[in-house]
């Protein structure tokens, strides 16, 4: 297991550790031969292979060699530095070796996991090891900087994820800014009637949490507000928030709705569909989104209000308001806040059912989405909880179509996770409220969590009919007299093996979940990544599910991928814990990969100055050269690559280190 040899040069004593990662590396890369190869490289004092280098005994092995063999540089050939660089740096630092004398060679993600041929994989691994060894010759014992962390936290989005995370952090004594772009917090959950699988009333479990948020001394709840700009970095973000003009003095409004009554716009003449009721009812220019809106404060829609649009109105609302809360002179307010951590909980967008023309949404009056049914069966909904078709009749037969916009390569290939259970809930509610016969058309039933399968069983026992098959179309084309005036669902019943036509009165589309329309904009603003489908990308699918690639920014809820309420709440808790972890620690360590200017070489040509996006470079007028403000430098190295004199250099990525790496990987190719 050990290959030892004398280093020709006393000053460089390198230890190389080739990790098997169980069979993850060893099954493709010949670790023994890689070890032997490494042992013969210049300055290598010891080369070993080990089952799991990241395990405690693995780390101890390295520490022991540092102490006993006097190693002063360490190469670990294992997984991606993104994963374990910290581990090995810490292990070395613990025994007094500068953590920056550690170099990783990524022979798992970049080699064993992606290469078919073992021989070629071994060659690739060797070349990466050679590069790491050569690179280390130019490593420097840098110092990690510590920067204090601002203790406050920003949470973007006031749905159930944002609400839950805010409460946890606030209860832990942290000051939280909760920014929500709608006039009220609550999100999609507030629109739901019941929640599966226990069928608790959504409002009953959500609204107490909403008022807790409102009343919590540690929470600054900013509704009708949007994040404009984010600057800074982990621990020290500077965030600009636009607080949109509500035209209501929030602190005076008590939510009595007298102004709404008084608004001169006649309800039936007002053309604005009520957002909260997904367009099933209409609202006036001044309105309260829903009875339990939090804050319980009305808002004036500037696109509707005659006073704001034309400057001409009787202003009956002003007259009606006893507390003189209406203020037409309000304008947007821009506020800047400092926070140490950010949780993004911006939620999802329901799939736009119109996109699937063959399901006839928007064309046939009696095709609904699940969200519309939630409102229709809700006691405070537009029909007072009566489930009626648009012509006022009660449906006798209803069809619920699953996977609308999900698991469909034309729209979204992914499973939206919540619609199977949502569709079962629909079947239950429709049956319960109307006694109608209900057909559910599913592709696969996915009821995988606690109590979900039992719920499915219950719905089955309620007599809902399940047809397995993706619905081809919903049509008003009648083949028989019986079908006339009905909507016909055409589907291949794949369990029976026949094409069926099922006439129904009502169709409910179980629409999937999509990224918010402006997810791309949010992604850019916060400098995080999106996965292919547009949901925000977590740092690691298993080990960093609420972190992002930008330190200090965490994810909660459906903005990261479709999820239901229990999962969202769990994730919000996790994100809050991670944020708390960061702000409670009080400082962050900054990778010292900053750039610096070699004064002896800089000619003061000014090339680098405009290239720095962080304005870290300026001209020292006395010395007539460029200087880099290390505190502002983020370590991209753009100035270094552009410096025509080679005066700008980047720690951890000096020209020499990269040239060595180039020669290293090519030396054994």
């Amino acid at each position: 297991m050990i290959m030892e040899k004398k280093s020709p040069q006393e000053e460089l004593r390198i230890g190389v550790y080739v990790c098997h990662c169980g069979a993850n590396i060893a099954s493709k890369v010949d670790v023994e031969s890689t070890r032997d190869f490494a042992a013969k490289l210049p300055h290598v004092t010891v080369a070993r292979d080990y089952k799991f280098a990241c395990s405690d005994p693995g780390q101890e092995l390295i520490q022991k060699d540092i102490k006993e063999l006097g190693l002063n540089r360490v190469v670990v050939a294992s997984c991606s530095p993104q994963l374990h660089e910290k581990t090995f740096r810490n292990a070395c630092a613990d025994v007094g070796l500068s953590p920056f004398y550690v170099q990783m060679a990524n022979i798992r993600e970049h080699v064993s996991w992606v290469t078919e041929d073992p021989e070629l994989a071994t060659r690739k691994a060797k070349s990466l090891v050679a590069a790491a060894v050569r690179r280390l010759a130019f490593a420097a014992p840098l110092e990690t900087k510590r920067v204090p962390v601002h203790p406050d936290v920003l949470i973007v989005g006031g749905g159930i994820a944002g609400i839950h995370a805010s409460l946890i952090l606030a209860n832990a004594g942290r000051k939280v800014f909760l920014v929500e772009r709608e006039p009220t917090i609550g999100g999609h959950m507030a629109q739901f009637d019941k929640t599966f699988p226990t069928m608790d009333c959504a409002a009953c479990i959500l609204t107490p949490k909403m008022s807790d948020v409102k009343n919590h001394p540690n929470i600054m709840m900013w509704t009708y507000s949007e994040v404009e700009e984010v600057a800074g970095f982990t621990g020290n973000f500077k965030v600009t928030v636009r607080r949109k003009a509500r035209y209501i003095k929030e602190e005076l409004c008590v939510g009595c709705n007298d102004c709404v009554e008084a608004c001169v716009l006649k309800k039936d003449r007002v053309q604005v569909p009520d957002e909260f009721n997904v367009g099933l009812s209409r609202r006036k220019a001044v309105y309260m989104p829903f009875p339990q809106s939090t804050p319980a404060c009305v808002v004036i829609d500037p696109e509707q209000c005659l006073q704001l649009m034309k400057g001409k109105c009787a202003q009956t609302c002003v007259e009606a308001c006893e507390r003189a809360a209406i203020d037409f002179d309000q304008s947007d307010e821009i506020v800047e806040i400092d926070v140490g951590a950010i949780i993004i909980a911006t939620g999802y967008k329901p799939f736009e059912a119109r996109r699937i023309a063959e399901y006839g949404y928007g064309k046939f009056a009696n095709v609904y989405t699940t969200l519309e049914i939630e409102r229709l069966v809700n006691a405070s909904g537009p029909t007072g909880g009566e489930l009626r078709l648009r012509d006022g009749t009660t449906p006798k037969v209803a069809g619920v179509i699953h996977c609308v916009g999900s698991r469909d390569r034309r729209y979204n290939p992914y499973c939206s996770n919540v619609c199977c259970m949502g569709a079962l809930k629909m079947a239950h509610l429709i049956k319960e409220r109307t006694g109608a016969e209900v057909f559910n058309f599913y592709v696969d039933m996915r009821t995988a969590f606690k109590g979900y399968e039992e719920f499915y069983d219950q719905i089955l026992s309620e007599g809902v009919q399940f047809v397995r098959g993706r619905v081809a179309e919903v049509t008003d084309w009648a083949m028989t007299d019986e079908e006339k005036g009905k909507l016909v669902i055409r589907v291949e019943d794949t369990l029976v093996g026949v094409a069926r036509r099922i006439p129904v009165d009502m169709v409910v589309l179980a629409i999937g979940l999509e990224p918010q329309a402006d997810a791309g904009e949010i992604q850019r603003k916060f400098n995080i990544s999106c996965s292919n489908e547009g949901f925000f990308l977590e740092r690691h699918p298993k080990l960093g599910p609420v972190s992002t690639f930008t330190d200090g920014i965490f994810l909660a809820g459906a903005c990261q991928g479709p999820k239901d309420i229990p999962e969202t709440v769990a994730q919000a808790g996790a994100a809050a814990a991670e944020a708390l972890c960061l702000v409670d620690k009080g400082f962050v360590e900054i990778e010292p990969n900053t750039a610096w200017i070699d004064e002896e070489v800089c000619s003061g040509c000014k090339t680098c100055i405009p290239l720095c996006p962080f304005k870290a470079i300026s001209r020292d007028e006395e010395k007539r050269i460029a200087v880099i403000n290390e505190a502002l430098c983020k370590g991209c190295g753009t100035c270094v690559a552009a410096c025509p004199s080679g005066a700008a250099q980047q720690n951890l990525f000096t020209d020499e280190q990269i040239y060595e790496e180039i020669e290293g990987v090519l030396s054994y190719a």
Partner: protein, 171 residues
């Protein structure tokens, strides 16, 4: 023209490609390709830089000089740079470098810039395979050797005699 003389490509030619990948997008995508077990051609050697803006055109030339048959530059998509705009600097240099390399007889396919987001592991696979195939077709990069002085060793071989004698060329 002698430029057209192409040498046969060895059957077992394995192109050597150096890839400079930015830490935040393309390197991460490359890790993702790994965690997703997407196999691809084993010919690339990734050198991690924090940002594609760190990629000095001198590195590209050095890689080619030291034996790479191709160089792949990878950064975040426009607008997505972790450092706001490093990838644009990379793009600007790349556009000019390409023109320079063309003048210096380096085929278009040998130096490539790709925007690959952290989530696009499949693109790492696709681009790598594609590039390896293209370079396999082109054959090894045969740069002109830089002469070195003999330092006591044999003097450089004399060049061939002046052009092949043309008939009746002597006046």
């Amino acid at each position: 023209m002698p430029d057209d003389v192409s040498l046969p490509i060895a059957e077992d030619f394995q192109p050597r490609i150096i890839a400079f990948f930015c830490n935040w997008c393309t390197y991460t995508a490359s890790d993702l390709a790994g965690t997703s077990r997407m196999t691809y051609a084993p010919n690339t050697r990734v050198i991690r830089v924090m940002c594609s803006g760190r990629i000095d055109p001198q590195f590209v030339l050095a890689a080619l000089r030291k034996g790479a048959d191709g160089v792949l530059l990878g950064g975040c998509h426009p607008g997505d740079c972790h450092y706001q705009a490093g990838n644009y600097k990379c793009l600007r240099r790349f556009r000019l470098l390409k023109r320079l390399l063309t003048q210096l007889g380096i085929e278009e396919e040998r130096v490539r810039l790709e925007w690959i987001a952290a989530s696009e592991g499949d693109r790492v696979q696709k681009v790598t395979n594609e590039m390896v195939e293209q370079i396999r077709k082109l054959g090894p990069l045969r740069l002109e050797k830089i002469p070195t002085h003999p330092n006591g060793e044999a003097a450089p071989a004399p060049a061939e005699p002046m052009a092949t004698a043309t008939e009746g060329a002597v006046s």
